[in-house]
Amino acid sequence: MSRLDRLARLLGLLAALSIVFACAAPATTTQPTGTAAPTEAATDEPTEEAPTEAPTVPSTGTLTVLDWAGYDAEDFWVDFKEAYPDVTVNFEIGASDADIYAKMAAGDQADIFHPYTGWLHFYVDEGLVEEIDTSRLSNWDKVPDHFKEIGQIDGKQYFVPWDWGFTSVLYRTDKVPGGIDSWAALFDPAYSGHISMWDDGPGAVTVSSYVHGWDETAITPEQLEEAKQEWIAQREHNLFYWAGEPELVEGMAGGDVWVAYAWQGAYATLLGQDVPVAYADPKEGRNSWVGVYGIRKGTPNYELALAMLDSKLAQATGENVVNLFYYGHANEDVMGGITDATLKEAFSIDDPGILDRTNFTPNLTAEQRDAWTAMWAEVKAAP
């Protein structure tokens, strides 16, 4: 075997190994720096309490949160950190709603998890989520009723609403001078090659039902077939399906995308970059999604988990959600206190009727989700 031959093999092996290790490196459990770890277990604490009083919240222990990348930053639980400096908070990261659900269904031991509207039913159906004792949440009064209702299933409060945002049509005002007043713009051949839809089946069904005036919670197989055909036809006008907000922002800032299905985070980011964009107030109404927190059924840390959710609703944490991610927060004092002009614009704060004209994403059953996602896969696979 020649020297070169041996080197070729060695290099190949090294390249393979380095990539394998690089991929294996990011661990799923991250412990944020700055949390000095008190090691005593919470369960060792005596939990005697007067029967009339609320159970005491242990001041030490460990809490595990299954959350999305980015939300593990201390900014998003700063109130809890201040109130419970000796509690160690660990984070596990979920990549998508499907991923978080799969983890919880597989027996993940996280105390708290963070799904979005559309997925809540499954956790209740499978008995994975504990009911919330709202009497223990000091910030609960600051949450508007329409947000509270989103976390209720079968008349019980299973989830605490936390972050939310709009979905609407975002467009470049220089390329679309006439403006946009309908979701139908996403299908308009006038913008062929400059449209970008979100890569998501339920999102597509939502748009179709707004355009046709269908009841989104009772889509018939015929309507689903019609939606499939119109999205297949839409594909030739669509530049790319965006998967993450940065991808969309880049496309719109660069001038390739003129009209897009978008969350208000992209709108605020583009406004901040002085890109000429506007966020439509479609005649069918905007859409809104809400992120909620649930507590795992059977967690030994229920008290601490409730304390965490209460502080998640507190002022400083909420302001960070608004200022760092441009998302809305469930605490209306936080939203009322926004002074930044761009953010006021992004949330239409000065338009008191906006939420009444907004359609909140309904909760889907497993059958609806499977049918809608399969519809979308067939759109992407179509010739």
Binding site: A8, V20, P26, A106, E126, F240, Y241
Partner: protein, 328 residues
Amino acid sequence: VDGHVGGSESRALTRAAEAAASALNASPRRRRLGRAGRGTASGALGRGGAFWLLSLPPVVWLALFFVAPLALMAAFSFRADLRGGLLRPFAPTLVHYEQVFEAASYVRLLGVSILMALIVAVVVTALAYPLAYFLAFKAGRRATLYLVLLLVPFWTSYLLRVMAWKFMLGSEGAINSLLIFLGVIDEPLAALLYNRGAVVVTLIYVWIPFAALPILAALSRVEPSLLEAAADLGGDPPSQFLRVTLPLSMPGLLAAFFLVFIPTVGEYVTPILVGGSAGSMYGNIIQDFFTKAGNWPLGSALAMVMLAITLALVLVAVRAIQPQRLVR
């Protein structure tokens, strides 16, 4: 996306390593060594014992992280839905396979993906061969340096390299800017990015150095004395190449081809980044059912169909070519 990239790449590389290893094992020299070695028992364990002891870790590894997940996936593909515990018993059903074949677009997309993989594999092998030939025969003392240079880009992230192609092909990218500067075109060509062509171009770029390695390994083993003998017997350079070098390097060539073809059929990262709305490959559909739809059973059925068809294609190809005949 990052996590997916890692998964796809490490999976591809594991397969690549396996393919390369089998190609190397098929070399005549290895065979001779193996046969000679088996005859002489040595040490307390004996040749056989040592062999089993040494192969235990990889066998256990493969069983745990390759065979077991594959078996689980096969089982999931016959499960009606994910309700209830992940490991609960269930009554097997064929509904997901029916759904795969009823929506004719899935099978058609698999055909498109196989065709794309075929184009990528043929072009990559054709481009990698001269590269490997140069390194093996012409580069001389600098061969090591060139090989290192060839592999340098691969120490950066796969994602970064594909993103670089986005900047190359984009409407304000390098190619369009150059063409506009030269006055060849007035408007940027939109057709460069966000289509299947962009996916094929990017994949070809990504695979060339990997494909060069098994070919280089095969070419390095060609004895110069054989070529001298051919020359002595009156063979001119083209016939020396066609009748000595090429047949002897054929196992490496085939290893390179399958190394590229097999992972490319199931590729899904590159189409997401440069494929656009109509550039999805079969792998994207599988990925969507696992990571977005939470429909593991349908995703598993799609994956099993791809596995079966790819395996069948490789078996047919191997039977037709009969690589063991080539190395004699």
